[in-house]
Amino acid sequence: MGDPILEVKNISKTLGGKLILNDVSLSLNKGDLKVLIGPSGGGKSTLLQCINFLHYPDAGDVLLEGFSAREMGRRNISAFRQEIGMIFQDFNLFDHLTAENNVAVALRKVKKQPKKAALERAKIELARVGLADKGGLYPAQLSGGQKQRVSIARALAMDPKVMLLDEPTSALDPELIGEVLKVIADLSESGMTMLMATHQIGFARHLTTEVIFMEAGRITEAGPPAELLNPDKRSRAADFCAKLSELMGSN
């Protein structure tokens, strides 16, 4: 297995007087795709945002290839974040920039690449997510699925070591979910290390190395999908997934 590429160690976080994360630990090896499931408000989003220190955890640390985020300090935390790609539920594309420039802007401003090189890289990444012909369009001119794929291209352009995905398909129309999941599956196949919060249990079942069930700020169960999601096990996770499948049809 080797050393883990990402280690989350005993993270706790209180927001607005409420304990959102309670001593959460997990680790990812290179090439892992792990899935976070659990009821809304269970702390999945907050955990992802604590991992790249968009929220500063009150306690605990995150190690990326052995380098501690805490030790980098507030001044250098941007360098740490650069190494971790993040995908949001509502895309968060930059509305004033074309798809191409959405991908290129961080290459230029953070990695200080010249404009031409950054745009070339942007074209390559957009082609990779199947949007080679949409580079000149603004976010408002793209469908939800296309927007999410641009945001994936934007994260990939920074050559992240790990990707965090926060319910990447939850804001999409049902018929657009497939195109985004396909991109994520391809990424996983190409060896990208990913941690994804999702309600797409069917997807999780087939592709993930581990399913992590979170509730009330804690990881309550974790294991390979075949084991954890087996209805006969009567685990809390299997129960939760059965309810989801009932609601959304088996997928």
Binding site: S78, Q82, N92, A106, A140
Partner: protein, 266 residues
């Protein structure tokens, strides 16, 4: 300034108010008004953007300082501020600027000070008017920009940081270009209000539009026609400026951002 006005005044005294001399006299005033409000709006823009950024993205104490500033300039009449700065604070301001010019300030800052206040660092009525109008406009502009900033989904700021940008970079590269686009219509309002407020600068001796029409009116007794003309002069500057700003708004408009066309605004 005074020698200029007496010179021109004496020449049209004998020939009535509508000679070539008076026309250039008035046009010069309008030019000075334009300079006055370009200076004040620029000062207000820089300060206003900074204050709005602090209010929306900065620590809580900085937001409180900004609202204190805004309340002061919102609450005190411009006329009072003009008197306060020109008769109350100008000499203190002058000695402050002169000590800055002698100190080890970085060269670009010094040349900016020399550009604004002359080599000797004296606070002319014009410089004082720019300062008062600019500080006042900064208060109003900060609230225009604050509203625009709050209308931009906070997720974009987060996404920028997740890509490795610092907060400052995220504001400058991602937030401000959107804020400025959205703000142009409201900003054109601030332009037209400030333009008309700038007429108050005549009370401290700035020879801008209002001062010149008043001077001619009281020396020729053509009060009615002079003040109608003064109103017209301000109207023309307002109209041209607002049209230019709306043309700019249309030019930089991006699909999905500031969707409304300028034709629907005015």
């Amino acid at each position: 300034m005074n020698s200029l006005s007496t010179l021109s005044l004496s020449s049209f005294f004998s020939t009535g108010p509508f000679t070539w001399d008076t026309v250039t006299f008035f046009l010069g005033g309008m030019g000075l008004t334009c300079l006055l409000i370009i200076g004040a709006l620029s000062l207000g823009l820089v300060l206003g953007l900074a204050m709005a950024s602090f209010q929306v993205y900065g620590p809580r104490w900085s937001g409180l300082l900004v609202s204190l500033y805004v309340w002061f300039f919102r609450g005190v009449p411009i006329l009072v501020l003009m008197f306060l700065f020109y008769f109350g604070l100008a000499s203190q301001l002058e000695s402050l600027i002169q000590s800055w010019l002698r100190s080890g300030l970085p060269a670009p800052l010094k040349s900016l000070l020399r550009f604004c206040f002359g080599a000797r660092g004296s606070v002319s009525p014009f410089a004082c008017a720019v300062l008062v109008l600019g500080l006042c406009s900064a208060a109003y502009q900060s609230q225009i920009f604050r509203g625009a900033m709050k209308s931009i989904p906070s997720g974009q700021f987060m996404a920028a940081k997740a890509l490795g940008m610092s907060s400052f970079q995220a504001v400058r590269v991602i937030i401000l270009p959107q804020v400025l686009r959205i703000s142009i219509p409201a900003w054109s309002n601030e332009y037209s209000i400030l333009l008309k407020d700038s007429g108050i600068a005549f009370v401290i001796g700035t020879m801008e539009t209002m001062a010149r029409f008043k001077a001619v009116a009281s020396s020729t007794y053509y009060y009615l026609s002079m003040y109608i003309l003064a109103g017209l002069a301000y109207f023309v500057i307002t109209w041209i400026g607002v049209r230019l700003l709306l043309a700019l708004y249309d030019r930089v408009r991006v699909p999905g951002l500031a969707e409304v066309q300028s034709a629907d605004i005015l």
